[in-house]
Subunit: 472 residues, 2 copies
């Protein structure tokens, strides 16, 4: 441990790469750009995050399935807008073993074209609706951009995609709204501040009516899309022949919604909560919530660490570090790995029948007595979570800037980053041009919020505040 990890979060990109490697989250050395290896500590945290998503979806009546990963071209190309939107990034299987395929196979960039032909078989009557399923699977989008573990990848290791089918547009819209709320609840659980925006028409998901995206802001000022909720209308149901017999005995096309999140939410949480010492896990996704560190090698001390573990292990994910490192090295190591609470046990502690608790988030330390320990850990974890969120929210809000002109917007994005809000008339070509002028991406609008300022693009009456940022 002589070559300690030098971290400085001001240099976010370097900090991120270094800490993910040190903390055994992902290994970026697999020799294929944009594909990463999930290591045990990272995989465990990712699983904890996904379990929460599963719980939320199951409670809402979604059922988990698993669909094939590859799709024949003839199925893939049925919805024209979708095909146009995804063709450039698809992995194409043209050969098997030593022979050429008659029909090439596409590795899924997302599963509409795989799942919807099955929906067409499964749905017969209005009694089959709504149908709500999801899966958690790898998907592949061979983007040409720079890649970054979890935040910008070519193989998404854990894409949670949900697909719902509805009898009416009203039902679809109701589900759409509920799912935006569900995603908001999920990101609150992760202690990530966010904003939910309706995507501008020119960036709407290929084949959709409209979609909402959730965004947060990374330490380097880049905006990142956390998840997307999409109203597909009847475009896919017409392409894939998904119909139902209604109560009035008429056959009708279904309405569809789809919504996805991925490990990008996880990477964002790590990026946002970390500090110069390394990661800081919020309690619910921490692979280890409490690490017990003996500060002497006396048997009486080591025995006591086991007693504490026994007290805690039914309610918390807890580990004793009994390695032969020095206490200082152990402190350093588990701080870098983001364990929310450290319990130190030495001879003084054994004699006095107390423990010293150290918080990862603010480095504060305090004594507690044995009988209070479970209650104390619970309340400390809760407080850590709250403080992590407060700190993250403060930063997030400080990075959202209202501007009146394109010049101002470009200056803010260049110097400070974050998300700017600028008055917009609502015309697509005007908005698109404005975001290009600002060298940013138009993230969307909050439809409920109107503006009476002039559009910064054309000078006509403003209608919405357009949110623009530079994305990671």
């Amino acid at each position: 441990m002589s070559d300690k990890l030098k971290l400085n979060k001001k240099n976010f990109s370097e900090w991120y790469d270094k800490i993910l490697a040190y903390a055994d989250i992902v290994d970026d050395r697999f020799p294929l750009k944009g594909a990463f290896v999930w290591k045990p500590y990272g995989y465990k945290a990712l699983s904890l995050m996904m379990k929460k998503m599963e719980k939320l979806l199951e409670k809402d009546g979604h059922k988990r399935c698993q669909f094939p990963m590859i799709v024949p071209m003839s199925l893939f190309k049925k919805e024209k807008d979708f095909l146009e939107g995804f063709t450039g990034e698809t992995l194409r299987i043209t050969k098997i073993g030593r022979r050429d395929l008659d029909e090439e196979l596409i590795v899924r960039p997302t599963s509409e074209t795989i799942i919807y032909p099955m929906f067409s078989l499964w749905i017969r009557s209005y009694r089959d609706l709504p149908l709500k399923v999801y899966q958690i699977v790898p998907i592949f989008r061979w983007e040409t951009k720079m890649t970054k573990p979890m935040l910008r990848v070519r193989e998404l290791a854990a894409f949670k995609e949900a697909h719902a089918v509805h009898a009416t547009l009203e039902d679809a819209e109701k589900n759409f709204k509920n799912m935006v709320k569900l995603y908001e609840e999920f990101h609150s659980f992760l202690k990530i501040p966010f904003i939910s925006l309706k995507t501008p028409e020119w960036d709407t998901f290929a084949g959709a009516l409209y979609n909402y995206d959730l965004f947060t802001i990374l330490p380097d000022g880049k905006a990142v899309e956390l998840g997307s909720v999409i109203n597909l209308g009847q475009k896919f149901s017409k392409a894939y022949d998904i119909k139902y017999m209604d109560e009035d005995e008429k056959e009708k096309y279904c309405y569809q919604t789809t919504y996805g999140i991925s490990e990008r939410s996880f990477g964002s949480a790590l990026a946002i909560h970390g500090d110069d010492k390394g990661l800081v896990f919020s309690s619910e996704i921490a692979p280890i919530q409490v690490v017990i560190v003996p500060v002497s090698n006396d048997k009486i001390v080591l025995d006591r660490t086991k007693v504490i573990r026994e007290l805690l292990e039914k309610e918390f994910r807890v580990e004793i570090d009994s390695s032969d490192k020095t206490p200082g090295e152990k402190f350093y190591h588990w701080e870098a790995k983001g364990v929310p609470i450290r319990i130190e046990v030495g001879n003084k502690e054994v004699e006095g029948n107390f423990f010293t608790i150290s918080r990862r988030d603010d480095s504060s330390r305090h004594k507690i007595y044995e009988k209070e320990i479970v209650k104390e850990i619970h309340s400390t974890l809760k407080d850590i979570d709250m403080k992590l969120y407060e700190k993250a929210e403060k930063f997030f809000l400080s990075m959202i800037t209202n501007v009146d002109t394109s010049g101002e917007a470009e200056k803010v994005l260049k110097e400070k980053g974050g998300i700017i809000r600028i008055p917009w008339c609502g015309d697509n070509s005007c908005g698109k041009k404005m975001s290009e002028d600002i060298v940013g991406q138009a993230l969307g609008i909050d439809e409920k919020e109107k503006t009476d300022k002039k559009c910064a693009g054309c000078g006509k009456s403003g209608k919405y505040m357009l949110h623009i940022g530079r994305t990671c």
Copy 2:
């Protein structure tokens, strides 16, 4: 429900396809041969099975990871025997979007060539060993054989592959034996009878020293490989440069073992335990362990079903069928879906403060009183599991036949199926010819069991009993 499912397990293949569809296990209508859709009920049971495997592996010190799914050809081809063995079945990605790839990418048929380059980076010293990881992922082997859901597929939806690295051959062999035991424990958990055999040299895993496979026998007499434990020796460590610095400060190549199971174990359990009424789940993997069926629509009855659910839902997976089907239709439906226990509640039951329990495995029924219910369900599930295993084992043992000659062997395999055991001299070319003559696959030997009979192939002294069967 007028067109009831006609099932007859004597026609195993038809029975299997029909019941998987009816019971929402998998849908075989995805338009790509050998790729299947996992429906919620099936996926739930599969997850319960995999959770058990995870527990067994984690307890033994294995850590879950997730590795990329595609591998550049230059990495894939490093171990020659492996390359030779798998090339014919690989999916080859030659294009991305509109452009040709300079180096083609292979979709994993198994992950040695993806994981081992990482091991080469992760392992430095003897302190890093043993290293034991696993993942549960889809893999792809485009076999030309007939396909059958779970039992013979091209996309394995849930391949649990574990990979371990050891300092010495002795450590590797010790782990090998432990993992054979672990797989045996796993299949006992599934109530599947099995036999563990050392694979003949000519069928050994490509790139391995030797391997053991576990086999069971399906109702149609076909043998099926449940899992494989493989000793790789140093072949891959030399191809992928996996070395460690030993205590004596010498750099040495590592030894490796690898072992896999998949949804095939799940499909085998369904195949073996089912009957003419449909599936019969053993308790641990049953998505629903207890179904409560009200046999009248009186409010007092419906209220009582809720009371029972409340009593049970903390300890069991339980559901009330409150649909508008008749009780008879409900019985039929849940029997087909294999729910181990049904609780019937009618006015008589409410008045007498008892319930009627019906067992899926033997259709027996008995009354129980409310205060005994939790204990009673526990012991009934246990007894069902035991009986399922006993019945399966009886069939399994009846399908293993000792023979002395090839003619006899061929006759048994043709007329009765199962696995024949035949004396063999131990010579590879003789064993291979013998299994071909018999029109079967040589499954392996039990090294500990010697024979003093003459080899049925060449007439020389017999050494082992060679096990031969026709595989699904």
